[in-house]
């Protein structure tokens, strides 16, 4: 895990369980570094004009999956808006596959998955809503997202689930912005499944020219 100091525009540690957002301008690269290993980084994207969100250019997992005819994201995957517009492209990936079908955790869905004792635990949907509000985004804007560093196989009979991750300390991936893109992140706080190794940890975000 190394980053070139030259050309670095932003270099931020996102604390465990915290949200983060930034606009990555066309041609810039965002490197997401899984500092401690197996930390899910829930991510949504919107095309922007200046600093204003373009609602027509919201990330669509379905459009992304359909265009590449594969559910897994890795090097070469183009992250698309619903109309197929390319927002970002994965240009490097130490891990091999990332999820975009299982969505974000929420306090509400946690009650179904783990029981009602989890309803007051922190969740990605809370991070998306709180951080998204800074950009004028509300509940209607939030859709199923990308889960970088999260491993969700689908078996032959359709059984799927979040299983132990494929990442490790220091592994990273890099996203090139194909147009000016707002990146909205929840550094996942889930403690009830292996997506964060049952121990949420910080990640590092490096934006380079």
């Amino acid at each position: 895990m190394t980053t070139t100091e030259l050309g670095v525009i932003g270099d931020t540690i996102v604390e465990a369980c915290a949200p983060w957002s930034a606009i990555v301008r066309a041609g810039q690269t965002l490197q997401i570094i899984d500092l401690h290993g197996n930390q899910a980084v829930d991510t949504l994207l919107w095309g922007v004009a200046g600093d204003a969100v373009d609602h027509r250019l919201r990330y669509s997992g379905q459009a992304t999956i359909t265009a590449q005819r594969n559910i897994f994201l890795s090097t070469g995957s183009v992250l698309r808006a619903a109309d197929g517009t390319s927002l970002m492209t994965i240009v490097a990936d130490d891990v091999g596959n990332h999820d975009t079908i299982a969505g974000a955790c929420s306090k509400e869905s946690n009650t179904l998955r783990y029981g009602h004792h989890t309803v007051h635990q922190h969740a990605c949907a809370e991070n998306f809503l709180a951080e998204g509000a800074k950009w004028g985004l509300g509940k209607r804007d939030i859709v199923p997202n990308i889960n970088f560093f999260m491993n969700v196989p689908v078996e032959a009979d359709g059984t799927l689930g979040i299983v132990d991750g494929l990442s490790a300390p220091g592994k990273s991936l890099s996203l090139r912005a194909d147009r000016d893109t707002l990146v909205l992140v929840s550094n996942c706080p889930q403690i009830n499944n292996p997506c964060n190794g049952f121990n949420p940890t910080p990640v590092r975000m490096v934006i380079s020219a």
Partner: protein
Amino acid sequence: MSTDSTAGARDHARSQVQTATVRIPATPPDVDPSRLLWAEAVPPGSYATKVLARGTRLRLIDPDGSACAHLLLFRADAPWERLNVADTVKVPWQAYLGAGHPLLSDQGRVLATVIADGSGHHDTLCGMTDDGRAKMLLAAVKHGLDLRDVAPSVSFFKGVRVDDDGSLAFTGSAGAGAAVDLLIHLPVVAALVNTPHPLDPDPALTGLDVLAWRAGEQLTTPVNDEPEYLRALFNTESTWAAAQTSEAAK
């Protein structure tokens, strides 16, 4: 018939129905006609919407074997709560829709449950074509919603399967006559679009039939006993009960 006057134009307009035909899907023989709420044939490339009450049984039929019914559900009384496709596959640990599968909202509640499935060819992964999304946007806008509400959808009657390497295989249709029944658990706006599946290599679409009838008694028996489903029903029933006017206040 002359249309050079208002009287002539009115006569012309009113005469058209005399020669037109509208195909209405037949009421199923086991359904009391007095319980029927909706019977509509949706042509290829078109869409239909309806506000459906809790306790409605919604039947989608592929009479000619090549319909593709894309569905979004919004809570009619709180439309910012809507179908969440990710939770719909993640919570039941199952990517493929079939009998017993809940269609979950983003608030941990059951909007509908698939209670009968004669097709087995459905999809939660791919969404719609550009034309399908354009139709779905029209459907949403007619209910006061907008582009932001057109979230990922589910598709009935055209199937997709995932291989071990994550790649998708399009499995097509189950053939003519397949039907899927959904039980509606909370009042919803159901928005249905009949447009090709985005991976269909031969998107020669056929009509979609829609039927719905009152079946509230079916809400009392859970259709599966998985713990996630039972907790989703608990959330749904408690939310519904809390919003009802108390007996004393009536």
